[in-house]
């Protein structure tokens, strides 16, 4: 839905360019595939939460061309990304790097899961003395024959 406002901005754009254009595609399919993978992790820096791979913005097109230029120049994927970060800053990365500034972001989920897990274990470890044994199959069958109309358990 964020694209809604984006396209509002493109009101004065004569033609609607859309994501990767045929003219941008690299001839070598292997290199093109790499370009696509890299593009999907890079943000179009003038858009709201769009990758350069899917964005219609002119800047995104320039950025896509830049990625392909670097690939053609023989850069590895990491070098291409590093080049883009040099030019556009960390903002360009849709998958932020693990730095002290993003520790909370990256390790927060694990922390929550572990803390929650500790609470769950404590809840379960409450004295279970009066927890009855599960019914045996015989007892279950007998119960079924007693309560044939109400055999749901959820």
């Amino acid at each position: 839905m964020i694209k809604v406002s984006l396209l509002t901005l493109s009101l004065f754009v004569a033609t609607l360019a859309q994501a990767v254009e045929p003219g941008e595609v690299l001839e070598d399919p292997a290199l093109e595939a790499r370009a696509r993978v890299i593009s999907q992790d890079l943000r179009c820096v003038v858009c709201q939460n769009e990758t350069i791979d899917e964005s219609n913005a002119t800047l995104a097109q320039d950025m896509r061309r830049l990625v392909r230029q670097r690939i053609n120049a023989g850069d590895t994927n990491e070098q291409v990304v590093a080049y883009m970060v040099d030019r556009y800053g960390d903002f360009v990365l849709l998958r932020p790097r693990v730095t002290p500034q993003t520790w909370l972001l990256w390790f927060g989920p694990i922390l929550i899961l572990v803390l929650g897990g500790v609470v769950v274990v404590r809840v379960m470890k409450r004295p279970a003395s009066n927890v009855g044994e599960a019914l045996s199959q015989e007892e279950l069958d007998r119960l079924d024959s007693l309560l044939p109309e109400d055999n749901e358990t959820s």
């Binding site: 939460n49 998958r95 989920p109 899961l113 009855g132 044939p148």
Partner: protein
């Protein structure tokens, strides 16, 4: 009806809401039946007044009354009727009015059909509903009035954003709001129970139908949004981890957890205070979702600050609701009685772990969505958090959840028998091996293929394990077939709802995995007569014509796609709307049961008559929609169970009948 009439009705609804929030509360405290009885009529009056306001605004939109600023800014005489109506909620002011209208309808429903509710619980719950109403009505009246007038009256309106002129998006907001606001009922009952100091099985039985209804609507609402993005945005994506999407997905996750923990309260009177907390959190996140979208804070902290009146109001409203309810919770929750005990391996244990994963997933999505704002506020640098982050952290949380989902329903209450269950999942394990193997053989052995095949295996696991659980209930192949039949027909609808929703989840997992792994695309330029092959479809461009629609002009491409002798015609469009002047793409989608062929007409023709064409093969995308529909439908089946009928606690008659049979 003049707009002032609607404005007046809305202004009148505010004092009514104030009365509804104060008088019954005092009545419940003093055990004064007369004061408590005010709640019902007040809730009814509120629904009527807000309904009048809503009807007035709708009428202004239908008749294109451009003297109303809101209509002028969001409508146009040439717009089809459906989009004149959906334009009512296609803007900030109108969508808030819809929100508060749904709130009032739900409140009136409790007032009208809640005769079996304990008087004090009912009075308190309606009072809390009234308070929410007060907050929203004040917000609308003081900062976002949809009835403001214009002078002089413009001859024509500015039109509605063409992207919103679409059937999927016309019904997306009402569905979402039915979900959000439905959770307000769980919230009101939770706060009422805290005031009461008492949570029991009867309480859970009251909250579950509201939660189920809210959850079903929210599921379908999110699905509609995703479907719209898929066919409208023109490149075949269906989920972007966009902050706006996340805003609705987070309450869905906690709402799903609430749905399950309320079962434990109802059946075993355990997890009471956690369930209350979840009800509070889910509605708070719904509020947060509404406001994140409405306030513009997601674009940037600065966009938020550009409209300080609304921003401050929103913050205050959130702070009072969340802060107030959590404070009450902190004071009262420790006094709630602890319910039934259970062993770690038991239905309760399984549901608790389900809650752990769902709550963690919700917290994760919330963290990722707000992190750029947090980083900006604390000057940690300008960061982006997008799909690659969410996929990395979210999928590892969902996989164990889906595995547990297969066996959870097989566990018995209090103490389950894991060994017995392991012997029951043989069929599911065999299905995993089979599906995984076949998927690998058909696709290949790259990393993506293996991931896709693993996702398919997970879907097979969940589907077969869910069916195994059902066949165990009806003792399929273990008892004579007529007995199984009898059992199948006497099984509770709630149980069928669960089976349906869980299989829906399996289908959804298949859709997510398959479409992510095996999408194919071809981006090229074509002149009429050219052909291209995508996933076995031969696609030929026959030509393109300019056609005229109700309020747009369209370049409509004509393609023929053939596979195995069957030919279909595909007509993707590129539209330019008259007002506002804006382009949209309308993809042409040919759907088979398994997959979609998705063709988009891009730029062109250039000087040599070439068009840019994008052709995608989208395998398993239809499974997303099947899965979502099955989940929503499962919720509704469960809702139709007689024990969930509004206010139908089991009477002594039915208990006697069950015991005597």
């Amino acid at each position: 009806m003049t707009p002032e009439f609607g404005h007046f009705a809305l202004a009148l609804a505010l004092p009514v809401a104030l009365v509804q929030s104060c008088i019954p509360l005092i009545g419940a405290q003093r055990r004064d039946a007369a004061l408590m009885a005010v709640a019902g009529p007040a809730a009814m009056a509120q629904m009527l007044l807000i309904g009048l306001a809503f009807a007035t605004l709708t009428q202004a939109f239908i008749t294109s009354d451009f003297s109303v600023v809101n209509v002028f800014q969001n409508s146009h005489t040439a717009k089809p009727l459906l989009y004149k109506i959906s334009g009512v909620w296609g803007n900030h002011e109108g969508s808030l009015l819809l929100w508060v209208f749904i709130l009032a309808v739900f409140g009136a429903t409790v007032a009208a059909f809640g005769n079996n509710l304990p008087d004090r619980l009912k009075a308190r719950a309606l009072s809390v509903q009234g308070m929410i109403g007060v907050g929203f009505l004040a917000f609308i009246l003081f900062t976002s009035n949809p009835f403001l007038r214009l002078d002089p009256v413009p001859v024509q309106g500015e039109g509605l954003n063409p992207l919103l002129q679409d059937p999927g998006l016309a019904f997306h907001p009402p569905m979402l709001y039915l979900g959000y606001v439905g959770f307000s009922m769980a919230f009101s009952f939770a706060v009422a129970a805290l005031l009461e100091g008492r949570v029991d099985a009867a309480w859970a039985r009251w909250v579950r139908p509201w939660t189920l209804a809210a959850w079903s609507f929210l599921t379908v609402g999110i699905g509609l949004g995703s479907w719209w993005a898929y066919y409208e945005l023109g490149w075949g994506g269906w989920w972007f981890w966009d902050p706006v999407e996340n805003a609705s997905f987070i309450p869905w996750l906690t709402g799903t957890a609430l749905l399950h923990s309320a079962i434990v309260v109802e059946k075993r009177e355990a997890l009471k205070s956690w369930t209350i907390l979840l009800a509070i959190i889910t509605f708070s996140l719904s509020l947060l979702g509404t406001f994140l979208v409405r306030s513009g804070i997601l674009t940037s902290v600065h966009a938020f600050a550009s409209d300080p009146t609304r921003g401050v109001f929103i913050l205050a409203l959130l702070a009072i609701t969340v802060g107030g309810s959590l404070t009450l919770y902190a004071i009262r929750a420790p006094k709630l009685e602890q319910g039934g005990l259970f062993a770690p391996i038991s239905r309760e244990g399984g549901l608790l772990i389900n809650n752990l994963f769902l709550a963690t997933a919700a917290a994760t999505v919330l963290l990722g969505t707000l992190y750029p704002l947090i980083a900006e506020a604390f000057e940690l640098g300008k960061l982006s958090v997008g799909a690659p982050y969410f996929n990395t952290v979210f999928i590892p949380l969902m996989v164990p959840l889906a595995i547990l989902m297969g066996i959870g329903p097989m566990l018995t209450w209090k103490r389950g028998d894991l060994r017995g269950i392991l012997s029951r999942v043989k069929a599911a394990l065999a299905a995993v091996a089979l599906v995984f193997g076949v998927a690998l053989l058909l696709s290949g052995f790259s990393v993506t293929d293996v991931a896709g095949a693993a996702g398919m295996g997970l879907a097979a696991w969940l589907a077969v394990a869910t069916l195994t659980e059902w066949s165990g209930r009806v003792r399929l192949f273990k008892a004579p077939i007529d007995e199984s039949w009898r059992r199948a027909t006497s099984l509770r609808r709630a149980s069928y709802g669960m089976t349906m929703a869980h299989i829906g989840m399996a289908v959804l997992i298949a859709g997510v995995s398959g479409s992510s792994a095996w999408k194919q695309e071809n981006i090229l330029t074509m002149v009429p007569g050219d052909s291209v092959t995508v996933a076995g479809f031969d696609i030929t461009l026959n030509g393109a014509d300019v056609i005229r629609g109700a309020n747009y002009e369209s370049l409509q491409g004509n393609f023929t796609a053939t596979r195995g002798g069957n030919a279909v015609t595909l007509t993707p469009e590129r539209r330019v709307y008259d007002q506002p002047v804006q382009q949209t793409t309308e993809a042409a989608i040919h759907t088979t049961f398994w997959a979609d062929l998705y063709v988009v007409l891009g730029d062109g023709p250039d000087e040599s008559g070439r068009y840019v064409v994008r052709a995608y093969f989208e395998p398993f995308v239809p499974f997303l929609w099947y899965g979502i529909l099955m989940m929503g439908f499962g919720g509704l089946i469960s809702l139709s169970d007689r024990k969930h009928r509004v206010g139908a606690p089991r009477t002594s008659d039915t208990v006697a009948a069950a015991a005597g049979a």
